[in-house]
Amino acid sequence: MNIIVQMWRSIFRTGVADSPVHRVFRVVVNFLLHLHPARVSKDGIKLRYTFCLGGLSLFFFIVTAVTGGFLMIYYYPDVDKAYASMKDIDEIVPFGTFMRNLHRWAAHLMVIFVPLHMLRVFLTAAYKPPREFNWVIGVNLLLLTFLLSFTGYLLPWDQLSYWAVTVGTTMAENTPILGAQGPFSVLGPEEDMHFILLGGTTIGQPTLVRFYFAHCVALPGALAGLMALHFWRIRKAGGISRPL
């Protein structure tokens, strides 16, 4: 057997021959491709239908996850070390700046593309039965995407991140009933929503660890789990929506 063909087979478990059976087989036995059906609706894969927005949201998520892992190796969620470790990443670590840039810009693109994907789904009425619940899952994906980006914003521990997150989290103080400053508040500043969120009355070490855990474990985990459900529901709805 040709050595190249042997290597191909060992990795992809299919031959290089082309035939209708091979095409189906290639998708079904491949771990990454098996998310797809073997055959898809012709209208559904038109670029001008989905604009690839959902797929690209997933791509940006994967890029941020991979580059995020790289950053985690060098980053310390400690108020005395966090900023210095960011400086290290930018100035000393090989490819550090590049990885950090990729992480940041891919995150921006994800925050832009997820709402655009939602817009496309709405405009094509793809939330109608039997896809109602997948839309609901989608709304949660949207919220998680914002929260993921927001919690990451604090981690560099510079003036920009500190004050931006101050602006954002101050809102929690104003929650009706459950915030110390909000209308009809019943809780004091040391027991309200804001305190629970920050682990204190101002942003400090407890906040940094909380946001670090949410940003690196809880939120990406929840997002990945919900995405799996999202994709499964697309398959169970009979694939991508199309004119009825």
Partner: protein
């Protein structure tokens, strides 16, 4: 007859496994995905080579900057702080937005119209609501991000943000009875007039869907109303009470 179409609309087996024209995923879909990934990999690499992620000075809790902005995707909500108190702009409105988005598939009274097409004419009201809200979110982000300078003063792009702005406008509050009357009228008219004018829509949606839809719609419209009241009539609060202001 009516019963039958209703059931069809709920089950619609033909939608789950419809007869349709299909093509092989490999290569027709896979190659498109690969091209999309390739294009955006290049975009990301180039972007990351020419532009660095910001890193300012070490966080200093005792040094409040002249302007602190939320991350850009939340700046729209921050911009709303001009018009609403924080409990509304930062808590109630985002909650209503999320609830509204979640309910969309359940309040849309038509299970079939426009599926799989960009059919703007078939779903005029639905399209209008979504595009209006979506656009408003991003316009607010744009204003907050690019036109607000130190102390959240408004600057046109050609104005220098270093030059401090004098804010002279004095704002007044509506007297309480007038405010209550305004809000009650606003919501009451919004909930009744469409039912009278668009009878078809009302009967098709049914009472529950109709009231949820119109309540959410009027919440959305309350935002531009509040903006006009403030910018044109210089009214700060519609309702003032010892506990909260609207």
């Amino acid at each position: 007859m009516a019963n039958k179409t209703k059931e069809d609309a709920l089950l619609r087996p033909k939608d789950v496994y419809p007869k349709e024209e299909k093509v092989d995923t490999w290569p027709y879909l896979v190659r498109k995905e690969l091209i999309a990934i390739l294009v955006f990999s290049i975009v990301l690499v180039v972007w990351s080579l020419v532009m660095n992620a910001p890193l300012e000075d070490l966080a200093n809790p005792s040094l409040t900057p002249k302007e602190s902005k939320a991350p850009w995707y939340f700046v729209g909500l921050q911009e709303l702080l001009v018009y609403f108190d924080p409990w509304l702009a930062g808590v109630v409105l985002p909650t209503v937005i999320l609830i509204g988005l979640t309910l969309i598939p359940y309040i849309d009274p038509d299970p079939v119209k426009g599926v799989g097409q960009y059919a703007f004419k078939k779903r005029i009201f639905a399209m209008f609501c979504f595009i209006f809200g979506f656009t408003m979110w991003f316009v607010l982000v744009g204003v907050g991000q690019y036109l607000r300078g130190p102390y959240w003063s408004f600057y046109w792009p050609w104005e220098d943000m270093e030059v401090a702005k004098q804010v002279e406008v004095t704002l007044t509050n509506l007297p309480l009875p007038a405010g209550i009357a305004l809000i009650v009228c606003f919501f009451a008219l919004g909930l009744t007039i469409p039912a009278a004018v668009f009878k078809n829509f009302y009967w098709k949606a049914g009472l529950v869907r109709y009231y949820i839809t119109m309540t959410l719609f009027m919440f959305m419209m309350f935002v531009p109303l509040k903006m006009i009241l403030r910018q044109v009539f210089h009214i700060r609060y519609v309702i003032t009470t010892p506990w909260f202001n609207i």
